[in-house]
């Protein structure tokens, strides 16, 4: 199904409320009038992995009971190393599931459990590393059978070209990698993930363009960093919306993954609930969008905290507490009918700090979403939304862009204007990169 309209308006695009709420796990309702903390964790490296996951789950749920947190979601994000050990992902999931079930039964907690499978493919190998693709699908089957409620991934199709392009600020390569290669890969991947989710009666949660947009965010860095243009990072975020939307067009229903800051656009278009992360994820990601990204969340996450000892307890349980108090303010605002005021504070406190924050403002995101749904194909969506964003960034004086940012945006607008949407021209553009990018195998993306 192709989304042709924007479901939520700038006004109705708000934290805690989605057009299509979800209910799963132990009676967890997401997007139905409150924001839920989604806690993420990382085992210590010198400990037994499975044992660590058990301890982390216990400590999180004990803290939830101590603070009377009634609703929460846990997310286990499997690493490349964990994926290498046969049966380990399923064993970890099963162990955590048992602990979750025990707490839900004993204390009546409403708990959801997301498992994110790592994309372990080496895209430079024939047929994009078919063996690893099968391993990914087997892992989805395994975690779904062993107790995951929600399935997610941060897929990386198109990243080989993106990595080449982003460090050269090569906007054509960026558009082609996200708008064509990543989108085609998403289509294939999510068709299979949705099939598994449906067979196992679990939720197909969505994908994050972490490998693209968070790489760009990380490269852009702080206000004084000068690695790539911050406007480029903002454009990559916008382009990532067209790419991540593909999962939902293949049947995913949310909640989208936390580190997909493009979920602002996805929520507006689909009406599905979304997870986001911001100020309380500074433990893993520094960003210039810490407040504004909270304006539209349904789950609120810390991104990743290692299970190290702190004064207040172990890392994950401490961060659950932080997230809980964040969400309490949002939920109190919702109960008191003050949500629009709080949303406005989230937005206004960040909007003009940086182009990356600007594009996430609901009123700006809404205009970008209109550009996305107004186009027919992946590439045109990506190109048009990037072009419109370039104009919006250049035309709003309140952003006070630095001279080098303006120079970058003006050059980018000219290059995007000259880009042909004709499929054969897009193919030509992609092919021109093959000799320059070691692992790029264009044909494999189209042989689906």
């Amino acid at each position: 199904m192709r989304f042709k309209e924007v479901t939520l308006s700038p006004d109705t695009l708000i934290f805690g409320r989605a057009k299509y709420p979800l209910r799963y796990g132990h009676n967890l309702e997401v997007g139905k009038g409150q924001v839920i903390p989604e806690i993420k964790y990382f085992p210590r490296v010198d400990k037994d992995v499975k044992e660590e996951y058990g301890k982390i789950t216990e400590s999180i749920l004990k803290r939830a009971v101590d603070l009377d947190i009634r609703s929460l979601q846990l997310e286990t994000e499997l690493t490349y190393l964990e994926m290498r050990t046969k049966d380990l992902p399923g064993d970890i999931t099963q162990l955590q599931r048992h602990i979750i079930d025990r707490y839900a039964q004993e204390y009546g907690l409403n708990i959801g459990f997301r498992v994110t499978v790592a994309d372990i493919r080496d895209l430079g190998r024939p047929k994009h590393d078919e063996d690893s693709y099968m391993k990914i699908m087997e892992t989805f089957e395994s975690v779904a059978s062993n107790g995951a409620d929600v399935l997610s991934i941060e897929s990386e199709g198109g990243k080989e070209l993106f990595n080449y392009a982003i460090i050269r600020q090569d906007i054509l390569g960026v558009v082609a990698s996200i708008g064509q290669l990543a989108a085609l890969d998403m289509k294939k991947l999510w068709k299979d993930i949705v099939k598994i989710a449906n067979n196992k009666h679990v939720i197909a949660g969505g994908d994050s363009a972490c490998a693209f947009a968070n790489t760009a965010m990380r490269l852009a860095g702080g206000k004084r960093d000068n690695v790539i243009a911050h406007s480029l990072a903002a454009l990559v975020r916008v382009m990532s919306a067209s790419r991540s939307l593909v999962a939902y067009e293949e049947g995913a229903v949310g909640p989208g993954k936390d580190c997909a800051y493009e979920n602002v656009f996805i929520k507006a278009i689909t009406g599905y609930p979304m997870s986001t992360e911001g100020k309380s994820a500074a433990v893993a990601h520094s960003s210039l969008v810490g407040n504004i990204i909270a304006a539209t969340c349904d789950l609120w996450s810390n991104e990743q905290t290692e299970n190290i000892n702190l004064f207040g307890g172990c890392g994950p349980e401490v961060f659950l507490e932080i997230l809980y108090y964040d969400t309490k303010i949002m939920n109190t605002a919702l109960e008191m009918g003050k949500e629009k005021e709080l949303k406005s504070l989230f937005v206004k406190s960040d909007k003009y700090v940086d182009p990356q924050a600007y594009v996430l403002a609901p009123e700006v995101a809404y205009e970008i979403c209109k550009a996305i749904v107004g186009e027919e194909d992946f590439f045109s969506r990506t190109l048009t939304s990037a072009y419109e964003t370039t104009s919006m960034l250049l035309n709003d004086d309140r952003l006070a862009l630095a001279k080098n940012e303006i120079r970058f945006l003006e050059a980018t607008r000219t290059r995007l204007e000259g880009l042909n949407k004709n499929p054969s021209k897009v193919q030509e553009l992609l092919t021109s990169y093959e000799p320059k990018v070691t692992k790029l195998r264009i044909r494999d993306y189209f042989d689906v």
Binding site: V45, T79, Q169, I228, N404
Partner: protein
């Protein structure tokens, strides 16, 4: 167009990050019998210096410094057959890689490209590089520097394993070791016995240059 004009056009095309124009003017220069060594000194070196100053003044982004370096490298390759056997001298050799279990290699790629732009010979082992591959590369390539990156706390311990393996095989004293990446700190570098820590690509390259020159 006299010789000075041609040299200036090549220099300016580097400053303007224009691949096509730089190649076009280099060909014109060669047709007009301009000395290739002069192109290297007057166009490439001066162009790179201007771009470097623009970067330091925050006029240019680091990515543009990288592109300028690539243009300079491409011009040098066009000039190579005309240099009458005089190879463009490299200042040193670096073996670089992202350690085992870690696929996050974009920071490493930036360092690798900046080292090349700074006239280092770079042997890039890629991402998810096992200890043995670092050892083999050190034996085979005889570099002055081994550079390692890791993004994750779970993988940065691999850096220590590489250094330990270099010690065990008697290779440690032959190379300087520099590490970097999001999870890595100067304290960590010291604790595992690395010689240097690059907080960012510019600093990393500066340290490597300091060791060589």
């Amino acid at each position: 167009m006299d010789k000075t004009d041609i040299l200036n056009y090549i220099r300016d095309s580097i400053v303007n990050l224009d691949f096509e124009k730089s190649k076009e003017f280099t060909k014109i220069a060669l047709e007009n019998k301009v000395d290739p060594q002069e192109i290297i000194l007057k166009s490439i070196a001066e162009g790179m210096e201007i771009v470097g100053k623009k970067f330091e003044a925050s006029e240019y982004f680091l990515s543009e410094l990288i592109v300028a370096g690539e243009i300079g490298k491409e011009i040098t390759q066009i000039l190579q057959p005309y240099l009458k056997g005089a190879e463009v001298k490299k200042i040193g050799k670096v073996v670089i890689g992202t350690v085992s279990g870690d696929l996050h290699d974009i920071g490493k790629n930036i360092v690798s490209m900046m080292l090349e732009a700074s006239e280092f010979e770079v042997v890039d082992l890629g991402a998810d590089v096992p200890v043995e591959s670092f050892l083999e590369a050190v034996k085979r390539e005889k570099p002055q520097v081994v550079a390692m990156s890791a993004l994750l706390t779970v993988t940065m311990v691999e850096m220590k394993n590489v250094i330990e393996a270099l010690k065990k095989t008697g290779l440690r004293d032959r190379v300087k070791v520099i590490i970097g990446g999001a999870a890595v700190t100067e304290e960590f570098a010291k604790s595992i016995g690395a010689d240097g820590y690059g907080a960012n690509a510019v600093q990393g390259v500066r340290i490597c240059k300091g060791w060589i020159t």
